[in-house]
Symmetry: C2
Subunit: 408 residues, 2 copies
């Protein structure tokens, strides 16, 4: 039984023409001898694949924030709606199909509302329907706890559903359909000659996704990686081959030692962040003062990033949206932070840079040529990050893409 | 055929008593139905598993540095000597044994002297000898290019040989024998209650090794990971179970989504580094000036680490041993660096810290309690690094170990 998981995001399901295109992809896979299991996200507003905000706004209109339990019940409707529409579209196209909620599909999670983890998958119902010749459409992003409560899986939840089903069914592939031609070497809206990557490793894609490449959620990748199920990132609306995500071993068949040909896999960016700088050199007890700063922010649940601690000064970034709250907390501690809003984090990502000398020099140099001022930098074995002003973001991405020419 | 690779470092082979202990381990494995293939490092001075320095010093006594080709020929003798001694010890213990050089064992590398990569393994000779009932002892750290030149594999070379043989023979395990009880949560000479980790993932051990944990080389881990061959880090001289290195999947059998229970896997350290600070705020063209600094250092082959670039100031670290050269290069550019020798990089490593809020706050706080001044910090998804003065290194390690209590 060659199961094939096909996951479609909200942007692929937005109108009837798009859904007929999706149906033709699914029916094509069936004709090629696969047993397609289709995972759907909620039909989103453009750019928002999980339009859960819309559903939540219904509740908020009544001036009452739903409890986490009720929010999950509400949000789970998004995928039920798109799933029912999709299975109906398949039936109308002459393809027997059945829709299953996450619970009906056997997605068993822990009891953490809004961010549940899949504990196991019981694929009995899916298998039975597939054997009866039906295409099974499964609601992504949702599951059921062992106590019978409906849960949702948090960010990237439909990808996670698809990967978990792929593992449970031993699928030949988990195909993630989206509106781009695969994993790109940089954002094609910024870099005109950005190219889709033909193959990437599970580790590379996790790293790219964490740094802002939006194509797939790292959690889904980790699940697929555990059992070595290949992922393919494909475009619903083009014939492009897409990007194959697999293990280094599969990419590098035959060779014993890993030889990496590309230093950099891609250039990613995260815009809309605020840099906060605090002078700490005058404090009576510098370490204790610094400890209080980070504890206060952690206690308030503010996610801080790009932290550089020095004796005389502490730098970190927060999302633009969190900046006001962070500043207020600091001012309550009688600290006067220097606030630089509208920065962007640009990252050069690639497992191949490990141990390659001079990568940082090439980055500083490429940005200097464009007269870009680096506000902060950091590096690990697989990533070099720079913080730049928002107005420098696009030219920074282009300069790094040009310098490293990431390719397959 | 259950092949078992057993790799012994130089500290396990230093005298006849130790070698008899090694022989008893090998013979024990044979009695348990395994086909042991033994990989040996050169017999080292204490603390130096690859005592290649000694061999090179023979050549240097004649005031002549050997060519890279000849240095490899010379260095390859270290493992030939220890391998012949070890196979003789096995024979004296009544166990049929044969010694093979890297070339005889079929370790085919590229032609990069001193740092060759294994391209493939042709295990025919090993298999034939094993079938004849012999224990095969293989010289680690060396191979032969397709042109027939003897090459060595660079740092961690014997681990790499062991892992590559494990893959080529489909071994049940690659056992790395050393003088510690496994992979420790911190250096037991510094943290008295440091514990061996029972299991770690391939990714975790790579990260620990890069941050200074000396037990196994990341390249060997990457090779084993490609084919899912388990590694075991064990002590030659104790009955401790050691550490099993395997995939998250194996550790987490049955669960679909990965649930990580430990935030921090271990605390590592790299001593003897020098921090260099350069004020760049006065330069006419700051980005260009910064570019020149890093290019000059890269050109001189100086490995820089822990780079923090800001508009007004650039920080980075070099090994203490490289500091003089780095300063000279900078002074030739009419730059006056501020030099802080004898620093140490302490890292908290753990895949489980990804997405856990407040980890940095806990680190700053734990160090503040010990009145440790953080000279610099950096963080990635799996590691938080702090730079401290050498005299603060041990109490920093202890404070972080106490705070996070890494466990299995």
């Amino acid at each position: 039984m060659k199961y094939l998981i096909q996951k479609f995001g909200g942007t692929s399901l937005g109108d009837d023409e798009k859904r007929r295109k999706v149906a033709s992809i699914v029916i094509g896979a069936k004709h090629n001898g696969f047993l397609p299991v289709v995972v759907v996200s909620a039909i989103g507003r453009s750019g928002d694949p999980y339009a859960t905000d819309t559903l939540l706004s219904y509740a908020r209109e009544h001036k009452k924030e739903p409890t986490p339990r009720e929010a999950d019940l509400l949000m789970s409707c998004g995928e039920i709606i798109s799933g029912v529409i999709m299975s109906t579209t398949l039936q109308k196209s002459g393809c027997p199909a059945v829709f299953l909620t996450g619970a009906q599909a056997g997605i068993i999670t822990d009891g953490t509302y809004n961010n549940a983890r899949i504990l196991k998958v019981d694929p009995r119902h899916i298998i039975r329907h597939c054997r009866e010749g039906k295409v099974v459409v499964v609601a992504g992003f949702q599951g059921v706890s062992e106590a019978g409560e409906i849960t949702t899986l948090g960010r990237g939840g439909s990808d996670t559903t698809a990967a978990a089903l792929g593992v449970a069914l031993g699928a030949v592939s988990v195909d993630i359909y989206t509106d781009v031609d695969g994993i790109m070497t940089a954002d094609p809206r910024i870099v005109t000659d950005a190219r889709p990557l033909e193959t990437v490793t599970y580790n590379e894609i996790c790293q790219l996704a964490r740094e802002g490449a939006k194509v797939i959620h790292p959690r889904a990748v980790e699940i697929a990686m555990q059992k070595g199920i290949p992922l393919r990132i494909k475009c619903t609306f083009s014939e492009a081959p897409g990007t194959l995500v697999t293990s280094q071993d599969e990419i590098n068949k035959g060779a014993i030692d890993i030889t990496r040909d590309r230093t950099i896999t891609g250039i990613t960016h995260i815009p809309d962040i605020t840099r906060i700088k605090i002078n700490t050199g005058e404090a009576a007890n510098i370490p204790a003062f610094q400890g209080r700063i980070f504890n206060a922010l952690a206690l308030a649940g503010i996610s801080v990033d790009f932290i550089n601690v020095h004796p005389e000064v502490v730098y970190f970034t927060v999302k633009n949206a969190d900046a006001g709250k962070a500043v207020k907390i600091l001012e309550n501690m009688e600290i006067k932070p220097e606030v630089l809003p509208d920065c962007a984090k640009v990252a050069a990502v690639g497992a191949g840079m490990t141990g390659v000398p001079g990568v940082m020099a090439r980055i500083v140099d490429a940005l200097a040529e464009e007269k870009v001022l680096i506000l902060q930098s950091a590096d690990s074995y697989t990533t070099i990050w720079v913080l730049v002003k928002k107005e420098d973001m696009e030219k920074s991405i282009r300069a790094l893409h040009r310098r490293f020419d990431p390719c397959r």
